[in-house]
Every structure is written in structure tokens, then in C-alpha cells.
Symmetry: C2
Subunit: 440 residues, 2 copies
């Protein structure tokens, strides 16, 4: 079977038996979020200016890029009271939903906290690791159309649960437009204060500090290509989370889920933006055709119909595979950000899933539930990076110190081994330092 | 008190009471391992060539940079048998020391393994995280004078303990010089095969794969500025560990440790290279003077005297502080890679240490013991990055997937919350996907 176009949806239909399947899948998955030399140079200039001129540079760039004319950083600062006011001022239904989501996210993340540990050896030596929170975290929140309060909860609550002493948020407010839901979420999530700045200049301020913006230890949160480039540039000076690509979902269906549900699950991914990716895999050909029909039927009812159409046409696909085992191979090859196992007994398949950001099990667990309020984080590895990275979590806001306490006896034993190895590496001061601890 | 030069050691002596103390400490700590535009461009060219021409580019660069003239990748490949042969061929004392170190490192790292977890909510929904190993890890090992077998153990054993399916090592062998100890360590640590390539070309090969070198999921291990620049460039395509700066130690002494022991502990850091940093802090002025005298006395006895002299002169210091509390402030400000608490009852101070890569407790725990065989990893965050990062560990070779399995009841409850929040973000397909799961 090759590509078939339904009456009014331009979405690839593939089969793993197609001769060109591998090449077509590669082309669909291809994504490289690399910034060109011009963007890199502009970002380097902005970072240098913020390091050199601090607040003055921030004020200047905010005037230029966000069209905000201010004379002091005070005008770009929102304190805890302002955040609380935003929360109190929300309509009751939104306030309640936000609070319940925050509570569920907090409960889930509390289970994630790594703990210090140690053990004592026979000779009395103690070995272990001490876990401590970061002193200060910076949360980047995009402004404008992509300003999502849920994203504030997902980025800030893990930091708060980790015990981070101070959580600083930056969010650009182009033309002075403030999103009250975003501020309310910041209040709920334990953000200490907010600067209404954005772009590479905000990343530079968080990484190096200015007269007003405190230097943080780690910067998390999504942003445009300037933000991503700046995060990559300051990596090492501060910690950063992964640099996110477009959002994606891979749904594996056994054919038993309502086709309209699946169509809407695909749409919920595709509506993010034109580069978002929505893939459905099934070994049931008839089912794929039913989902395609549901897509055709429901597409015209969507508010974001045009974005969804473009996303499905550019990066979406309905894929027929031979069987369940081939579906597992596709999952592990794609390493999707979101994986829906829309089937009976998804538990049976779970142990075979090696790479996925988040796994939504069964017909009832729509990805949208996880995006907002199930509890797990919605900041997830994209573009196949689930091969080596994890959902944002409490562990991202803590770090470990090794702890070694040798007894006199233990130091003597270890000293003899270290001496041989150090001399093998021609590091004789290492060897002599160890040898001092060998008992006569 | 200001800087005093001892008879024959050029090492700063500072006091926290000096008017210019803050500025001088800042200058001592300053380190920025940023590569210039020329290095970046050369690295970008090398990466592009390896992506385009694969093995052919590797063979060409290895000829140019390592002066190895080969015609096939076979000649740059060492299999498991060759590694075992290196191990068997070692002198007994070295073989035994290496094996005991490997065993201790393995035992320690086995305690580090994160585990999958889940919990069931009242309505039957299940939430948790599934922990899985990386499929394939790449270990970069520097060649030439800095080829350290201990580094092979420290980088590869955590990957092996994590359950990584395939561990690939790269090590350049300039002029064909092979270090048998390095290969023996690779055998002990569970490395599957070795390619004798290095530099940015080796990093590119691991990140993107060639006809011969398999694409890995994460690259760890130290290297020169080309290696570091290449790792930064491929970050996102693969995972990487931290980009390491020069090695450092901060020793806090209560005055009760033998000055010669402390001098040698400082030397063991300083002998790494001219940029290494060795700092000693004490509130006991007389003790600092005694350590200084021991430095003067022992320096001429060192094999690497010249490197140590330069390192101490450029980046070393003996620092007098007011008291124990001020020492704690210095620790947390410096966030040292290695911290020696050379004192009675270091346990009392431990909870106050917020930032340090590894903490060596008491007078017997020389850093050198931890470098080789105590068990904890010697790959540690440098240049103050202990503020936000951790020793290399098993957790670096595993990742997590969120698992969400909503019951029908749970999906209905969550659907109502998600619907409100999604509509607040104008993501109506998200809302409708959630609403399908609300029970009538």
C-alpha cells in the first residue's frame, strides 16, 4: 500500500511493507533545530552586552524587541504580591482547576525525590552520596501566543519540591501584554519573583546575573530559536534542561479504541504548531481507514484547523505495521516524546518499551490529561532524545556530592592500591599522598 | 596580611580580612573554557565531513592528526580479545590493583541504581516512572600523556552497571602508541570494542555513526578543546556529560593534620597540569605557615616539580579565614570539585556543605584514594559547576519514562480539570480529547 489521500485530508498513509518505508519514515522524523551562524552571532553579541552592561542592556533590548519603554528594572519586576493578586483575581473555575492540577503535580513529584545514602565497610570506612538542592533556579516562560500556565506549573513545581531556595521566572510581555493565568500559576508553583524580560537577553541575565537579576544555577523552560541558542551558549556556566524540538505523539492502537477519540488525540498534538508530529500505528488496516475518516469528519470543526492541517500534511502519518512486535520496534526506533498505548492490556507491552518520554496507557489515558493534571511532568524529551534523557523532574533541581570517610585501616588498604595505580599513570605525588596513609 | 613569598615557593597567601580578598579570590577562581570562533569553525567542518563521508573522513583525519596511515577502519578497531590480552599481559601487581579498584567502583555504583516506581490512586489510576538503560554509550579516552586507565574504569563501569547494552570506547593512538593499561582497564570495565580514533572526528563518529562506528546515545569522558567543542556541538543529537575544566581541590584543615600530608595532597592536585587549582583554607595561621614550609621542603623532591610550581603560582593559595563558619561560606562559594575536610569530626560540618563534587572526610581520606579505588567516581563537576551538577554515575546512563494509566473513573475526573485548563490556553483540541473521556 502506498500513500492515499482521503477526500480532504493530506496525511501520509504508510505501511511497513512499502519498499520505501524506511526512507519515508526517516524523512518524516528528520528534525534538526540547529541555529545558523547569523543567529549564533546575534546571540553571542546579546550575551556579551548583558555581561558587560547588565541592567542597562536588559532595558535596551526589552525596548527594542518587546516594545516596552522603561527606565528602570523596577518596571520589569513583579513581586510575590502581584503574583498572588493574579491568582485571587481568576474566575473560580480556572482558579480551582489550576490549584487541583498544581496539587496533583506536587504529589507526583514528591515521589521522585532522590535521597542521600551511605554504607559502612568492614574496616569502618563510610561511602555514600549526599543529595542537596540547587540554591537558585531560573524558569523561562515564553510570552505571546505560546504563554502556557501549565508550563509554569510543570517547570517550577519540581524545583520547589526539590527544595530550591529561590525560584526566579522570566517571561517576556511584548507590548506590555501580561497573561494573568501565567502569573497565577507562578504564585501556585512557588515562584519567588518574576522579571518581564525574554529572549537571549533574559537567558544571559539568569546565567551571569545583573545588578537586579540574580545569577541562577540552572535555567529550564522552552523558548524560540534565540532562547535555545542562548541556553546552549551558557551551558556550563549554568545548568540547562534539554533544548526542545517540536512536540510529538506516537499512538499505537489495537483497533479497539473509538476512531473519533484517536482522531482528536492526534489533533491535540498537531494543534501545537505546524512542525508538531502526530503518528498513529496499528496492525488493523480497517481501523486506520476509520480513523482517517474520523479525521476528515472532525477537522472542519477545529478552532485551529489550519495549523492542524499543515502539521498533519507535513509531519503526520497513519502507519500500518505487521503485528504487535513490529509496533514495539517502531516505538523504540522513534523514541517518541509522547506514547499512547491505546489498547487492551497495555501492561503487557510496557516492559518492551525502551525509549519514550511519557507512556499513556489504555484507551482512557489521553495525552491531554498528562499535559495538564495527571501529575507527571509535561516537559519531555523530543526528537528521539528519549533515547538518553528523561522527563523534567525533581532530580533536575538537585545534585549529589560523593562522600568518602576512610578509617585509618581503610586508608591503609586503599593507599596500597592507589599507590600502584598512580605510579602506573606517572602521577607520583598522587602515589606519595596515598602512601602517607599506609600504616607501617 | 598580604601576599608573602616563601623562600622558594611562589604561592599566594591570602586572608579573608584582606581588603582585596574578594577580588583576589575571584581572579584565582576565574576560568572560562570557551573555544574561539576559529576552533568552532574547524570543529564544525570536521563534524560535517564525518557526517558526509563517514569512515573515509575518519581515516583521513586520523592520518593527518595522529600520523597513522591506514587504509581501512579494521586497522583502527580493537575487539574484546585484544582488550583481554592487554589485561592478561600486565605485571601481576598492576593487574591485581586494577582489578581491586574496578571491583570497588562496581560495588559503590551498584548502590546508585535508580529504580522504577509506581503508585495506585483511589480511583484505580496508576502513576509512576519506568527506568531503563541507554542502548549504547560512547566513552572518550584521551591519548598521549593524559591516558589514564583509572579514567576508563570511572567512565565505563557506571555504564556497565546501568545495563547499557553496548559500550564503545574511542582513544587516539598518536604515532601508533598504544597504552596497554588503558586497554586492560577497558576489558575490566566491560567495554565491548575500541576504535583508535580521537579528536572532534571521534566525537562526530559516535554522535552520528559511520559505516563502522555505531551511533551512540551518550558520549562521556574528558578531552582537549577540540573534543570539548565537538561535544558541545553534538549535544542534543546525543547526550553528553559535563564539559570539564581544570581539576581543583579545596582543603579545609583544622590545624591538626601533618603539614607534609597536606602539602602532598595539594601537590597531587597541582601535578595534573599548570591550570590545576590547589587551595588550602584554615583558621590557624601558624598551621598555614607550617604547610608552606612543608611545600618548600618537598617541592624539589617531586617528579613533576615544574608543573606543580607553575600550577601553585598561577592558581594555588593558602587562605586564612576567621573561623569554621567562614570556612563553610568559602566552601559553598567555591563549590569545589574535590573538598578535603582534614579535621576532627568532619561529620559535624557535612550537613552545611551545599556544593562540592566529592567530599573527603577526615585526615586519612586523601583525595588520591578517591581518584583510584575508594569506589565513588572521579569524574566530578569542576569550575564551580558543583552548584548544579553531580559526579558521573549510573543515573547518567539510564533514563526515565513517565507512566500514566488512568482508570475510567480517573480519566473522567482529570478530563474535567484538563478541559478547563486547555480552554484557558485556547488549545481546544486538547480540551475535546480530554472531554471524550468524561463520563456522561
Amino acid at each position: 500500500m502506498s500513500e492515499t489521500l482521503a477526500d480532504s485530508v493530506d496525511m501520509a498513509r504508510l505501511s511497513t511493507e512499502d519498499a520505501d518505508f524506511e526512507a519515508r519514515l526517516d524523512a518524516l522524523l528528520a528534525w534538526e533545530g540547529v541555529s545558523d551562524a547569523e543567529v549564533q552571532q546575534r546571540v553571542a553579541d546579546i550575551i556579551a552586552a548583558v555581561r558587560r552592561r547588565g541592567d542597562a542592556a536588559l532595558i535596551e533590548y526589552t525596548g527594542r524587541f518587546d516594545r516596552l519603554s522603561v527606565s528602570t528594572m523596577d518596571e520589569l519586576t513583579l513581586g510575590g504580591e502581584r503574583l498572588e493578586r493574579a491568582y485571587v483575581g481568576l474566575p473560580a473555575e480556572q482558579r480551582e482547576a489550576l490549584a487541583r492540577a498544581a496539587e496533583r503535580i506536587r504529589v507526583y513529584h514528591e515521589r521522585q525525590r532522590p535521597t542521600s545514602w551511605s554504607y559502612v565497610e568492614e574496616d569502618g570506612s563510610v561511602l555514600g552520596q549526599q543529595v542537596t538542592p540547587l540554591d537558585r533556579a531560573g524558569i523561562y516562560v515564553p510570552g505571546g501566543k505560546a504563554a502556557y500556565p501549565s508550563s509554569v506549573l510543570m517547570n517550577a513545581i519540581p524545583a520547589h519540591v526539590a527544595g530550591v531556595r529561590e525560584i526566579v521566572m522570566v517571561v517576556p510581555t511584548p507590548d506590555g501584554v501580561i497573561n494573568e493565568l501565567v502569573l497565577a500559576a507562578a504564585h501556585l508553583a512557588g515562584v519567588d519573583h518574576v522579571f518581564t524580560i525574554g529572549g537571549a537577553q533574559a537567558v544571559a541575565a539568569l546565567a551571569y546575573g545583573t545588578e537586579t537579576v540574580p545569577r541562577v544555577d540552572k535555567i529550564v523552560g522552552p523558548g524560540n530559536i534565540y532562547v535555545a541558542t542562548a541556553k546552549r551558549a551558557v551551558f556550563g556556566q549554568v545548568g540547562i534542561d534539554m533544548i526542545a524540538g517540536p512536540s510529538e505523539i506516537l499512538i499505537v492502537s489495537d483497533g479497539g479504541t473509538d476512531p473519533e477519540w484517536l482522531a482528536m488525540d492526534l489533533f491535540s498534538q498537531a494543534e501545537h504548531d505546524e512542525d508538531a508530529q502526530a503518528l498513529l500505528v496499528s496492525w488493523d488496516e480497517r481501523h486506520l481507514t476509520e480513523v482517517e475518516a474520523a479525521i476528515v469528519k472532525l477537522l472542519p470543526t477545529l478552532e485551529r484547523e489550519e495549523i492542524v492541517r499543515q502539521s498533519l500534511a507535513r509531519r503526520g502519518a497513519l502507519i500500518r505495521c505487521r503485528d504487535r512486535n513490529e509496533a514495539v520496534c517502531l516505538i523504540n526506533r522513534i523514541a517518541p516524546e509522547h506514547l499512547e498505548l491505546s489498547m487492551a492490556e497495555p501492561e503487557a507491552l510496557l516492559p518492551e518499551v525502551r525509549h519514550a518520554g511519557a507512556i499513556f496507557m489504555g484507551r482512557y489515558t489521553a495525552e491531554a490529561l498528562g499535559d495538564y493534571c495527571a501529575g507527571p511532568n509535561h516537559v519531555l524529551p523530543t526528537s528521539g532524545t528519549a533515547r538518553f534523557s528523561s522527563p523534567l523532574g525533581v532530580y533536575d533541581f538537585q545534585k549529589r556530592s560523593s562522600v568518602i570517610h576512610c578509617s585509618e585501616e581503610g586508608a591503609s588498604t586503599l593507599g596500597a592500591i592507589a599507590s600502584v595505580l598512580a605510579r602506573g599513570e606517572s602521577l607520583t605525588a598522587h602515589a606519595r599522598s596515598a602512601e602517607y596513609r599506609i600504616k607501617e
